[in-house]
Amino acid sequence: MGHRPDSVVANRGRRRFLIGSAAALALPFLESLANPKPSYGWTAAPGMPQRLVIFFNGHGLIMEEFVPGPNMALGSILQPVADVGLIDKSLVVTGVNMKTQHGHDGTPSLLTCNPVVPNQYGITHATTASVDHVIAQHMQDGGLARRLDLGVSNDSTNDSHNGLSQEHERIFWSGDDELIETIIKPQLAFDRVFPNGPPDGGMPTEPEVDYLALRRESVLDGVLENFNRLQGRVSAADRERLEAHAERIREIERSLQNGPGGPTSPTCNEGLEVMLAGLDHRGIAETQIDILAYGIACNVFDVGTFKANDLEENAWSHVTHPDLVQTFAGENYHGAWHRASDERLDYARRAFGAIDAWYGTLFARLLQRLDTIDEGDGTALDNTMVVWVSDFGHGGGHSSDNLPIVIAGNAGGATLGRHVNYANDPTSPYGDDSQPGNHNLAVTMTQAFGINGDTFGDYNNTVQPVQSGPLSL
């Protein structure tokens, strides 16, 4: 039994669908949405979004550069959206506060709207699914949620990292202490969207009898039987843990019985050309955005997320701002943000202004990619609700008030191309208790997807009062 050194653990073996390294991969045009994958009975109401994408960056933004001025005068963060001609398909929302819990500990509850629970190390986790996952489950009506969670992080360029991340701001949850992992490497993202390898011009043929599905069902039956037997031999707390695990296996087994689960290869990949290796953090983020847009627009997934994890000093080489080195000197992303908190530390504000403007270009790229795919009378963007949100407002102040929000593409019927503001000063780190909250944003989303009810989460255990209903847009 040889022992495997830690440093090569994630490196060895092979992936199922290895594509040549550093090769630009141009995919042939197949049939544009000729054969969209059927959902489990859910259909978008006319004019309402057919899918959801959430764009997230941690630690907020330099709000002065985000909040539009009179007549939609844009700062550096949203100017890239205007540059690709899509500010008219975007609704900028300011003056929404985090109501569940403030500070870093509250971050896991941003989209769950329920109280968080600390573990033995004081690290908090969510106790329920976040709104994106609730919507994803709703759209599959009992089947497995079809979601694609991509992002960029420091480890995206680390060859010895396996490409799945749980780090930093923990936002997307499928249940109690169930953190949804982020794919941080384009190769892995590509494999997930194209599990059968790059399309070769023909549709994959389905076998007459799916022996693999049959075997999986039998094996899972046996696995669940072993869970049942073990349940009787463990303590109550352990039983709870086993039950959470078993329940997810049951969900997978049900999806096997209900028909084809998981992604199939998209058939609307016109124009997708991606580099999968040899990229810096900027290139990785852009590629992830492209893969996400195609995975979503091609109806392989119902819900997609893009997460810009905290990047450290050496990952910002593509943002060539003269103040960046000083801002990060000896600090990580979090500590560097603190340097942007003081009025006198203008250099850090300038540096983060440049970083945030880069987030703006990524968001603009996402919208632009979706908008190039024809769908019905319009584009894929018109049928997608794209939400940009962060866990903080004023990043330097670590403020949980006045979060930056953009709802683009399809805002559930709300008129786009506007700025809706609920705060006296939406750039301030200090909001007012009477402003709407993350619960209202969540209900805006659930209602757009036809989920009945005007509440989401817990309205009693909050740090500020919050009313039911959606945002008034």
């Binding site: 022992h3 010895s160 959470a244 340097r339």
Partner: protein, 549 residues
């Protein structure tokens, strides 16, 4: 609204805090009081403390285990990667019991991985099974299930277990493309997706808090090797000879002598201090022209050789304050030693300069707690508080309009930030303790080289004191970081913290204040030798017993 509650600025969390509070309220002298007073510990009280948690294997442990399972079946082909995110180890170890619940996506990835392993088995049926399976449940299939089940469930299969394997096998062979092959694959997949594989057993003996020998074997093996029990440990468990402390100690001693323990000793110390391999760190190449992948790999190797030596030959004081190190020619140059190694392949043990002392003055730690060009003094200070005193500092929230640093311009400008934080009540609560510790380490640059002044020519003044209050009851003055390390190495509370980290590693749980006596008892062993500490952890009731059922 954003609060101004000062308590938010320096919340200190974790088990040892509870312990401190407890001690203060009972008039004892904190963590330092009773340690070393062996007579004061009641053996019967020890037997009642704690229970091993029902923890899940970490992705690293699973991957190592499957390598070893394949080797047991003489299959040379490696398994595919297990696609699970590495655990977040900012506050704990990769094998923590607090690893969250699985999502459906993670379970699907586990299924895909198990199917890739079963494919390898099906391609090596003759080698692996030594017989030809058929479409019916015969001896060939049954023997294979018993063998792979024994390894993955870490105990012999009973009739009920085998019945489940049989049902699945018969189910699959009934409707399969290639019945025998798919039947074998189903056996492997069932073995690797079942809870008996993923969760370390805490099965106890009838009417006892003591774990069965098979459960003890699993715990010992993942504690010291990070993988499944080997044949000798399995045999000992089958003979029920993992019950007395002597039996367990004998096996643990054998396991510590095995090369497999080396990887775990390295992993423990790197995760304890939250260190990334130096080969993954970026540094300013203009400022540090010597820092390349070769030197980075040397830093990693030096650190590993240092901890291996201290664990096999030293005690906790050596680990925390020793000036010896194993160096090659590149490391001699980094340390500013005159050359004695003949080259990069020649590793020699040397006495380092008086500025060094212990594990925290090694370049791997120092390079991890630094940015591209300059050291990160706050991070170094926090590392001492969290890793040597077992205290967790809350990340400060709500620092709007506070001057955090005046001129972090990569040089002596940092010192203005230190003064600034000390002058502000909201910062000083934590930073009056964090910063002086960090300042003592300023004599080490961003790759761990020694210096006496900043690049702008300003001298570094490492002398200072740890103020009484946050982590120590009486102030601790020091001249240099090496002096500070010497003092910390002999402190009972620091030694107890180190012992508690090994307990955390071995059980997946951080010891609680009610387990204080046990931690102190183990820490005494650490004063003798780290090896004695590790053997004592192996026989600790926290590992071998269960509290509740």
């Amino acid at each position: 609204m954003m609060g101004n509650d000062l308590s938010r600025w320096c919340r200190v969390g974790g088990a040892w805090v509870a312990l401190m509070v407890l001690s203060a309220s009972t008039g004892a002298t904190g963590c330092t009081g009773n340690i070393g007073d062996a007579d004061g510990i009641d053996p019967s009280a020890q037997a009642a403390v704690g229970s091993p948690d029902f923890r899940r294997l970490s992705p690293l442990e699973v991957e190592q285990t499957i390598d070893d399972v394949l080797a047991e079946f003489d299959i040379a082909e490696p398994a595919e990667d297990l696609l699970l995110a590495p655990p977040d180890v900012r506050h704990t170890f990769s094998n923590t019991a607090d690893s969250g619940n699985f999502t459906t996506g993670q379970i699907q990835n586990i299924m895909a991985w198990a199917e890739s392993v079963s494919l390898v088995f099906s391609q090596n049926v003759d080698t692996a099974l030594g017989c030809t399976p058929s479409s019916s449940w015969d001896d060939c299939a049954s023997d294979f299930a018993s063998r792979i089940g024994r390894l993955t469930f870490r105990r012999p299969l009973d009739a009920e277990d085998l019945a489940v394997f049989q049902t699945v096998y018969e189910d699959v062979t009934l409707q399969a493309e290639d019945p025998a092959r798919d039947g074998v694959r189903a056996i492997v997949e069932l073995a690797l997706e079942s809870p008996e594989f993923w969760y370390l057993s805490n099965q106890t003996r009838p009417d006892s808090q003591r774990l069965t020998s098979h459960a003890v074997a699993g715990r010992l093996s993942y504690y010291l090797w990070g993988t499944m029990p080997d044949a000798e440990l399995r045999d000992a468990a089958d003979r029920d000879e993992l019950q007395t402390p002597e039996q367990i100690r004998a096996q643990a001693g054998r396991m510590l002598d095995d090369p497999r323990a080396e990887a775990i000793i390295t992993r423990f110390h790197r995760e304890w201090l939250h260190l990334s391999p130096a080969t993954t760190l970026a540094k300013d190449t203009e400022r540090y022209p010597s820092f390349d992948q070769d030197l980075a790999a040397d830093m990693d190797r030096e650190f590993d050789r240092f901890v291996q030596r201290q664990v096999s030959e030293g005690n906790v004081v050596d680990l925390l304050s020793s000036r010896e190190s194993s160096v090659n020619s590149r490391m001699e140059s980094l340390y500013g030693l005159d050359a004695s190694a003949s080259g990069p392949e020649d590793w020699v043990w040397r006495e380092l300069g008086p500025e060094r002392g212990g594990i925290l003055t090694r370049p791997l730690f120092l390079a991890n707690t630094a940015g591209l060009g300059e050291s990160a003094l706050i991070h170094r200070g926090v590392a001492v508080i969290e890793n040597y005193f077992c205290k967790t500092l809350a990340v400060p929230d709500d620092v709007s309009d506070e001057a955090v640093e005046v001129a972090p311009d990569a040089t002596s400008g940092k010192m203005a930030g230190v003064e600034n934080r000390a002058a502000k009540a909201r910062c000083a609560g934590c930073h009056s303790t964090i910063d002086p510790i960090g300042v003592s380490f300023e004599v080490f640059d961003a790759i761990g080289g020694f210096r006496t002044s900043y690049p702008d020519g300003i001298d570094i003044a490492p002398a200072g004191e740890i103020a009484a209050g946050l982590i120590v009851e009486e102030q601790v003055p020091y001249e240099t970081s090496a002096d500070l390390m010497d003092q910390l190495a002999t402190r009972p509370d620091v030694q107890a913290c180190y012992a508690s980290k090994w307990l955390e590693w071995s059980t997946g749980r951080r010891p609680t204040s009610s387990q204080r006596q046990e931690v102190e008892r183990l820490a005494e062993q650490g004063q003798l030798s780290i090896r004695a500490l590790l053997l004592e952890v192996a026989t600790s009731p926290l590992l071998t017993h269960r509290e509740d059922f």
